[in-house]
Symmetry: C2
Subunit: 119 residues, 2 copies
């Protein structure tokens, strides 16, 4: 029997948080340490309201922590684990590209053969 939705749903939700480019950009900004919202806005080039909303989603998901400091609010990675995930996916995508390029090379070699001894 298949895994019940109750088990899979939280996993899907976790992936969903990571499935938006803007949120990944925000997270990457925090890779080098805690940053204020203003700094995040500057680094990503995203709009203020937009960043604020994404940070709320990331905080609710438990991926970042929030610490107000004076007028500013600093956000920090709470689960460095997410970078492991991103790297795994990135590596997998790279391997795909490598395999594709290898196949292309094979194809070219075969075409060479055909040109040398046609028919």
């Amino acid at each position: 029997m298949a895994l019940p939705p109750t088990v899979l749903a939280p996993i899907a939700d976790y992936f969903k948080v990571l499935s938006e480019l803007s949120r990944l950009q925000v997270l990457c900004t925090l890779k080098t340490g805690a940053k204020s919202v203003t700094e995040i806005i500057a680094e990503t080039g995203l709009g203020q309201a937009n960043v604020s909303k994404h940070l709320k989603i990331l905080a609710q998901a438990g991926l970042v922590s929030r610490t107000p400091q004076g007028v500013s609010v600093y956000y920090e990675i709470a689960e460095p684990f997410i970078f492991d995930l991103c790297e795994l996916v990135s590596d997998r995508l790279a391997k795909r590209l490598a395999a594709q390029s290898e196949q292309l090379k094979q194809l070219e070699a075969w075409q060479q053969t055909k040109a040398v001894s046609p028919q």
Copy 2:
């Protein structure tokens, strides 16, 4: 400087494919081997058109392979890697729950202390 969107976008897209409960259900169905669409429909309880659409998305993402066989079409996991990802996330979520329950226990112990020696 942060990673450019051109690098992060494919990663976000990869996560996006895995961020839907129905698609995870379909993938889990294939964990034990290739299955026809009819079998997938039966195991998941999802609608026919729905399953067909999700399978298309999974195939385009390169996560499953498609092999017609007579009237049926069999789909198979093309990247077992996805189950590693799911398991990593699942483990992480489990650790979270464990940590929460531990905190709860600590809180209860503290309340006991307070009850024994009030003030």
